[in-house]
Symmetry: C2
Subunit: 481 residues, 2 copies
């Protein structure tokens, strides 16, 4: 777990550690191999990260002191939150002596202002705790994603996290009013404004949001809160196909007045996998269909007749032949049953062998064309391959997952991950899409991004990186080099 | 209207003009004094801008050629849209030989995609035309402000325009999916993505949005569209005071499920001014009160009972003594009558002599404290002064306008503009507010902003400016120097 680089042998790392212990106390340093395991374990097992030690500052001031020391000694540093990222953005490289700066001890909710619909939190706060704190004062913090029980808001912010409710509330970027960040030289920028309107300069916080910790360390943020929905309506809908689904989405946004909270596409094969492998999954509709939509509407007031509205809209869509069949949940239990299908897909797919994954987005209206082209391409590349494309059609973000052919060798199949990615990403790019919709670039897509990004954009990114981090010490080799 | 600087006499401007005529055609150049008038007229009459000539490119390519030439010859340039700005951001300084680059000829709607809820427009499109194009396909482009009949979207974007619906749809920044911009050296960045999720790098478009044309020229943008509201409910409400108003806002956001489209505060004096000076204004309530709220809710579907909901919520607020009296419009005509009051205030105030204005915001919950402190301060400074603070309480943006004392000398009163601004801005700053909520910095607040902005933030801004515009030719002396 530890590593040995030439620079490590010149005594700088020891000096850094000694200074940190002196200033932050011994409890701020983790350097025993067993204790390091959770910090250097990369979620998808793709990398075997190494670090000489982890520093865990307890305050913005301590983050500042840490960065000041690292810059003086030219020691590279990797900011880390809950370590739930999927592209290796929050873990070090191997053998480079990169110190991990973990924000987990900075976990205070600094203030909560229901009248201002805002909350000020430190970077290490667990997302779910923020959701709960908001709910306690009858407010909603709408960011919601699989890892919410363990991911930290600083990581959400640094990766511009998305999740299930983007169509209604936007990405993390849209939920931030202000940011506190420490620059690599240790200077603290207090940008913790809680204003809805402020035109007094370049919007600098936008560089830190989604910046993967390559420009500085976000230590706190002011987040927007919302009124909590009082009523929801959930339906499981068999549609004519992806094109009908896009049309249905537009119609439902219109008919409900932008009340669409989630709009997920599910192919039959995903439902089949769930039915086969996950106990408790049931097919909500009588006849099988090729494509389904899980839609959830949310209204701000109870008894607003949302279920009836959804039923009417779906009847109209049935008459215009967009919809083949549909069931609207008539109880909370039924709604949960429907959502259970969506959640079961990820688990179910594991039982069908190797899966080559993509995290891509295209303009919403281009999703049908993307599915058509990408499916044809991978079938041509690997006969028998089983595409299981599902996910957030509402924002054009499809998890284009590909299960191995029946009976194929798992390892041999997974060895084709990169060549498949490359072909699919070329289609995504041609449709004006993104090769990383949600998860970021991190280590995984650093190189590939350079192939798809316009040179001028890479140049602007490099120039900005050079301004903030001239020595290249902040999360080196992530996002941009 | 023309000016003579040393650099102008060295023949560079003539070479530039000749080259532009050769490449863009003579119709792209305006240099006759009479024709220049609309381009050098500053809306509030605060400045007497001068320019040697105006260049009006008809395409992104022509903008690129213009900037390439300007950079080669080191000629400073001022990007300009509809010239409706209020801080002199889109007009040149006097005597500096700054060429105006007006985007008015780039006025095409490049594409409109109702299924993707997006529209791609050139910088010179008039805002209202975009609203209408969206409405034609049953969609909403929600940006709405006084100058919408003549302002251009490029200017809205470069100033991060706000307006009346920020509480529901956000500022301009929140409505942009992608940007096309030309850098000072003439390179074109095609960032016209129409994606809802894209995490493949720093979000560079955010620097151009609200950048006041100091980093490059925005030539086109992809904008978000929304479903059009089908029903609205408008009420005029007498409240206990600003604190009750903030509470009422929170309650209405909650009760309506974030259906609040506008929430404007109006003091009695503003209503009195309107009743006195603007024909057709009527007092909607029987008894005078010190403070009023104009609230509008919007719902996505017709017959959603929004009026009843508003009435019920106001009844509850009456019982809890937040509200003294209220009337809910029961027809479109009544709703217009109420909005007419709000619109009449600006006009009415002109008849009451000189007015010292502010464009400030504070956190929504801090508005009452701001009103209390700022009113006391200006009364102390100028006995008899008549504060008329009104505006967007929903997003903390109060137009803190101060009418002169009765019988005072107009010019002598207005001569105190800056000292009054300074005191009010100190209160705003102490409350964590912004000295320019909507209108930007431009020429007007360049210097003052330096007093209130943290040095570290000014340094970051300067460093970014230096990266994009190393020669300092793009809108020099605006926003940051």
């Amino acid at each position: 777990m530890t590593d040995h680089t030439p620079y490590q042998d010149d005594g700088r790392l020891k000096r850094l550690k000694d200074s940190l212990i002196e200033r932050l106390g011994p409890q701020a340093i983790i350097d025993q191999p067993d204790d390091l395991v959770p910090y250097v374990t990369e979620r998808r097992g793709r990398y075997k990260p190494q670090t000489p030690f982890v520093v865990r500052p307890a305050s913005t001031q301590e983050v500042s002191e840490t960065l000041k020391l690292c810059t003086a000694l030219e020691v590279p540093i990797v900011p880390q939150g809950g370590n739930t990222g999927l592209v290796g953005g929050g873990v070090p490289y191997e053998g480079r002596g990169e110190v991990i700066l973990n924000l987990g001890r900075m976990n205070k909710i600094r203030s909560l202002d229901p009248d201002n619909y805002s909350i000020t939190v430190e970077a290490g706060c667990i997302l779910q705790r923020i959701q709960e704190a908001a709910a306690d004062v009858d407010r909603l913090f709408p960011l919601s994603l699989g890892a919410e029980g363990s991911c930290q808001i600083g990581g959400n912010l640094s990766t511009n996290a998305g999740g299930i409710h983007v169509i209604r509330y936007g990405n993390m970027r849209d939920l931030v009013l202000g940011v506190e960040a420490v620059l690599p030289d240790g200077r603290i920028w207090n940008g913790l404004r809680s204003l809805r309107k402020d035109n007094t300069g370049y919007d600098l916080k936008q560089l830190f949001i989604g910046g993967e910790g390559t420009l500085g360390v976000v230590t706190a943020a002011v987040l927007k809160l919302f009124a909590r929905p009082r009523e929801t309506a959930v339906a499981f809908v068999a549609v004519q196909g992806p094109e009908a689904a896009v049309k249905l989405l537009g119609d439902l946004r219109r008919a409900s007045g932008e009340a669409v909270l989630a709009f997920e596409i599910i192919p039959r094969i995903a439902l089949d996998f769930a039915l086969k492998h996950v106990a408790g999954t049931i097919d909500p509709l009588g006849q099988p269909a090729a494509w389904y939509i899980l839609v959830e509407l949310a209204a701000g007031r109870p008894d607003s007749g949302l279920g009836d509205l959804l039923e009417e809209a779906l009847s109209e869509a049935f008459e215009s032949e967009l919809v083949l069949d549909a069931t609207v949940a008539r109880s909370e239990a039924q709604a949960q049953q429907i959502w259970f299908i969506r959640e079961a897909i990820v688990e179910a797919q594991k039982h069908e062998g190797g899966s080559i994954k993509h995290d891509v987005s295209v303009p919403v209206a281009a999703v049908p064309r993307f599915l058509e082209l990408a499916t044809a391409k991978v079938r041509e590349m690997i006969p028998g391959i089983r595409p299981v494309p599902f996910g957030h059609l509402g924002d054009g973000n499809i998890h284009f997952n590909l299960s191995q052919p029946l009976g194929a060798d798992r390892e041999a199949y997974l060895a084709q991950w990169e060549v498949v990615n490359e072909e699919v990403h070329m289609i995504v790019h041609a449709l004006g899409g993104s090769i990383s919709a949600e998860h970021g670039l991190g280590r995984l897509k650093l190189e590939e991004n350079k192939r798809f990004k316009e040179p001028i954009e890479l140049e602007m990114m490099r120039a900005i990186k050079a301004v903030f981090d001239p020595k290249g010490l902040m999360n080196p080799g992530k996002m941009i080099d």
